[in-house]
Symmetry: C2
Subunit: 328 residues, 2 copies
DNA sequence: TTGTACGCGTTATCAG
DNA sequence: CTGATAACGCGTACAA
């Protein structure tokens, strides 16, 4: 790797001059600039970001902490973050926390050790000391905090919409899957669903779910139908769960949506391709990722002209796991 | 952030000594070690990786270049890479190339600019100048190269297995989806399928597909049935395509697998949860990611005691989109 | 308009 | 066993 010194020598100038043309700072004669640029090309030089970062005490790196990239919802948001960051010349270090506080801490430390200029985190513990005493700008994505910059979807409204869809479709014995207790947005959805159901004067069952991963959703779905075999409407905690529920329902010979309606949450990309295609509440994951990235960049640049709490609306996507109803 | 100097001052020793205890290098008296450790704790010090990296000209970072994290196959391999790397104290910078050579180059540059010690890449262009003249250890994942360290699955065999499954299930008019021309493993699968079909003396159609992304698989599937409406067996280029094919088939009132058999490729996590669950050729994506990481670490450590070409076997997973046949 | 010299936080060498 | 000190590659006063 060529260094700035090599370029300087090749161009017959000092390193300071090279640095100047590199950063288009200060004055530099047109001719010398040309010489330097030629040298750069000739040597295929590109500046060492590490040295730069050491000197400036900040890099062009940001940290992204997600629960588990393997969960189909997260790649969308990760991609949104990445795209926006890339357009602004930032790169990302990524870590999977598995919702494990130790891993979370480890990664946060890695981030600071590498001079990242900010982090975007999808955490269940926004209010722990970890974050409150964190010295860099942090944007909380998906899992909100009151007084800190955050980007999230209107989970409560999402829960309502889901319940309303199920109700409109005529289900009489609804079961709500109440996502993991420690996952805030899951509880919001649950809240919203409960509210709508109660306002409609409907009875409902609740199934507690402890995880959002692939491994357990199938047993969860079994569980659901074992416990409430005659349920005819399921408000799933997310699309993954919903898919498992469809699977289990079909396996038990129950027709979807004729015998059981099912509505998911997230609208992961696969949902529209299922058979039957999943009716669900859409969160704009990709856009949320982008928004979080934009917000973080603003914070990094110390621009405080941006709203710190960005709530995204949520939308009911009617597909084929709910019964069509006439709309007015 | 406390620096090594702060620690030295606090402990009443020189930075050299602190460095020694940090790296457990050289001799340091038990008592002084204690003092230093106390100081470290007191100041909540952790070494600046950037400075370290500058001096040693290498970091604890590796670069991971994938086509698109949004495609459900890749998170698995990314996760495998991450887990293995993490266990070895490496962290990863991730980039989505979108199979775009410019982006690929950009990221490769970022990687070197940040002193990564190696890269794992899923690229279609392993033999371009980009890589042949790359100065760091590189492991090619999934998309192979002859003479360079690589980890891949036996796509050809996979294609055969897929075809054999379809044949065994009794399909008479098979259609093969031939993945993107520039994606080597897709062509391998195609090869294998063709071979098996021809050996069995069967006729078949071919549908050319140009991408692996979510956006186009549905029109692809439409296309397939528009062109070959009476096809009764589809060998999909991957699970995503297969899912779209199921969707389209069901939409057209064709029963799966009674009227059409379908077999996928990859075995992405969702495949087993579909209804009907997808019969597919399994590639151990997560393990492949891990293997690539291990291989890269070996290369970094200059251990040449490891096989440089790691081929993973592939496996037919019979689920419900193929007809059950008696096995001997 | 250009060059010299210092510092960013570490590690390694070498003298003590 | 310990402490100065020179690098690592870059950016920026400050001087010229």
């Amino acid at each position: 790797m060529a260094t700035i010194k090599d370029v300087a020598r090749q161009a017959g100038v000092s390193v300071a001059t090279v640095s100047r043309v590199l950063n288009s700072a200060g004055y530099v004669h047109e001719d010398t600039r040309k010489k330097v640029e030629d040298a750069i090309l000739a040597l295929n030089y590109s500046p060492n970001e590490v040295a730069r970062s050491l000197y400036k005490r900040k890099s062009k790196l940001i940290g992204l902490l997600i629960p588990d990239i393997t969960n189909p919802y997260f790649p969308q948001v990760a991609r949104g973050v990445e795209d926006e960051m890339r357009e602004n010349d930032y790169r990302i270090i990524i870590g999977n926390s598995d919702e494990n506080e130790q891993k979370e801490l480890d990664y946060l430390q890695t981030f600071t050790q590498n001079n990242v200029v900010g982090v975007i985190t999808l955490t269940n513990n926004p209010d722990t000391n970890t974050y409150t005493s964190f010295s860099l700008p942090v944007v909380f994505l998906d899992r909100t905090s009151h007084d800190k910059p955050s980007v999230y979807a209107d989970g409560r409204q999402g829960g309502r919409l889901a319940a309303e869809a199920i109700i409109a479709g005529g289900s009489k014995e609804v079961t709500i899957m109440q996502g993991p207790a420690h996952v805030k947005p899951a509880q919001d959805r649950y809240q919203g669903a409960v509210e709508a159901l109660e306002e409609a004067g409907m009875d409902y069952h609740v199934i507690q779910t402890s995880t959002f991963s692939f491994h357990n959703v199938d047993v969860l779905a079994k569980n659901l139908f074992d416990t409430y075999p005659s349920t005819d409407g399921v408000i799933a905690s997310n699309d993954l769960a919903a898919i498992a529920v469809i699977h289990e329902a079909v396996k038990r010979g129950r027709r979807v949506p004729d015998d059981v309606q099912i509505v998911g949450f997230d609208d992961i990309p696969i949902s529209g391709l299922l058979s039957p295609a999943l009716s669900t509440i859409r969160q704009p994951a990709y856009e949320m990722g982008r928004a979080a990235a934009r917000l973080l960049i603003h914070l990094i640049d110390n621009k405080h002209n941006m709203e710190n709490y960005i709530q995204f609306p949520v939308e009911y996507i009617e597909r084929n796991t709910t019964r069509k109803v006439a709309r007015n």
